[in-house]
Amino acid sequence: MWAFIHKLGSPKWFYRISAKLQPWFWVAAAGLIVTGSLWGLAFAPADYQQGNSFRILYVHVPAAFLAQSIFVSMAIAGLVYMVWKIKVADMAAAVMAPLGAAMTFISLFSGAVWGVPTWGTWWMWDARLTSMLILLFLYLGVIALRGAFTSRDSASRAASVLAMVGVINIPIIKYSVDWWYTLHQPATFTITSRPAMPTEMWLPLLLMVLGFYSFFIALTLMRTRSEILRRESNKRWVRELVEEGQ
C-alpha cells in the first residue's frame, strides 16, 4: 500500500498508472450522469410542493458537493506538497482549482435560479449562500495566486497555504444551516443519515453525485497528466515517450 502511494508520488509512475485508471472513470462518469439526469429530469416524480422546479436539485446538490470536496482535496494536496515536497500533489492541486471554481459557480447559479420560484428571491445574504460565495472567492484567490508569481515554487507554496487556511470555510458551509437561522433549508442528502426523500427521488440523485465525482476524478487525472508533461518536458523519460510516440 505505502509502496503504491510512494510510486504515485513519482511523476513517471503517476503518468503510467493514471493512463490505466482514466478510461474507467470517464466511462463511469458518462454512464452515471446520462442515466441520472434522464431519470431525475424525466422520470422521477414531481415534488408535492415545488412541482417540477425541485428537479434543479439533481444538478445543484452534486455541484455543491463537488465544490466543497474539491477544495478539501486541494488543501490535502497542498499539505502533502508542503510537508513531503511531492510535486505531483502540487500539479493535481493546480489543475483542480478551475473545476472547483466552476462547480461553485454552478451551485450558486442553479441555487439562484431555484430560489426565484420557491423562495421569491434569487439572492439573500444568509450564512449558507454567503459562505458559498466566499468559497468562490477563495477558489479565484488560489487561481490568481498561482498566476501572480514568476517563480513556480513560490506560487505553489502560496496557493497551498491559501488552500489549507481556506479549508476552514468548508465546515462553516456545511453547518451554517444548523448553527444559524438561514433561508436555505438543512441538508436533504447526507452520508450519515437517511435521506429526507423517497427512493425514487433519491436514487437518481445518488447516481448524479457519483457521476459528478467520477467526472472530477477522470478530469483531474487527465489534466494532471498534461501538467506532468508540461512541467517535466525536459526530463529524459518524457523525451523518450515523445520519441516512442513518433
Partner: protein
C-alpha cells in the same frame, strides 16, 4: 518522517488551527448578526429594533391568513409555536406561501407591535416527496414534522402496491 518535515507539518497545522480559532471567535462574536432573521420569541422579548428594516421568520400560523378581496393586501401571523407576530403585507406572495409553511418577512416592526412587510420569502424544508405520498401521509394523520421519517416508508409501500390509489390510506 524526518525532523525537518515534522517541523513543517507542525508549522502548517499550527497556522491552520490559529486561523480556525480566529475565524471561530469572529463568528461567535457576530452570531447575532449572522442569523438571517429574528424569531417571534425574540421580537416579543424586545430584542429586535423598532422601525428599522429587519427580517423576521417562522411558520405561517394555521388559519391566520386573511386576504383582502379587492387588493393584494394580506395579513397573517408568523409563529414559532411560542409567540406570534402579526404581519401585514401588500404584494405578490411566493408560490410556496401557505399556512404551515416557513417564511421570512422583510420589513419594519411598527410601534403597535405589528410587522409591516415589504417582502415575503418562502422557506422550504429539506423534505421532498411525490404528491401522492404527501396526500397519503396527510390522510394517515401525520404532521409535516413526521414527513421526514415517514416519506421514504410510504414511498416504498406505494411502489410495492404498484402506485396504488392514495385514497386507500
Amino acid at each position: 518522517m524526518t525532523p525537518k518535515r515534522k517541523q513543517k507539518l507542525f508549522i502548517v497545522l499550527g497556522l491552520v488551527s490559529l486561523a480556525a480559532i480566529a475565524i471561530g471567535l469572529t463568528l461567535y462574536a457576530l452570531r447575532a448578526n449572522i442569523n438571517l432573521f429574528f424569531s417571534p420569541v425574540q421580537i416579543a422579548a424586545g430584542s429586535a429594533p423598532m422601525e428599522r428594516q429587519i427580517r423576521a421568520g417562522g411558520m405561517v400560523k394555521e388559519g391566520s391568513v386573511s386576504r383582502n378581496k379587492e387588493s393584494l393586501e394580506v395579513e397573517f401571523k408568523v409563529t414559532d409555536y411560542v409567540d406570534d407576530l402579526e404581519v401585514y403585507y401588500s404584494g405578490i406572495l411566493p408560490d410556496l406561501f401557505r399556512e404551515g409553511q416557513g417564511v421570512v418577512v422583510v420589513g419594519e416592526l411598527q410601534s403597535d407591535g405589528r410587522f409591516r412587510a415589504d417582502q415575503v420569502l418562502a422557506r422550504h424544508d429539506e423534505n421532498y416527496m411525490p404528491p401522492e405520498v404527501a396526500q397519503a401521509l396527510e390522510e394517515a394523520g401525520y404532521s409535516p414534522a413526521d414527513y421526514q421519517a415517514k416519506a421514504a416508508e410510504v414511498g416504498k409501500r406505494l411502489e410495492a402496491q404498484g402506485n396504488a390509489e392514495p385514497s386507500q390510506y
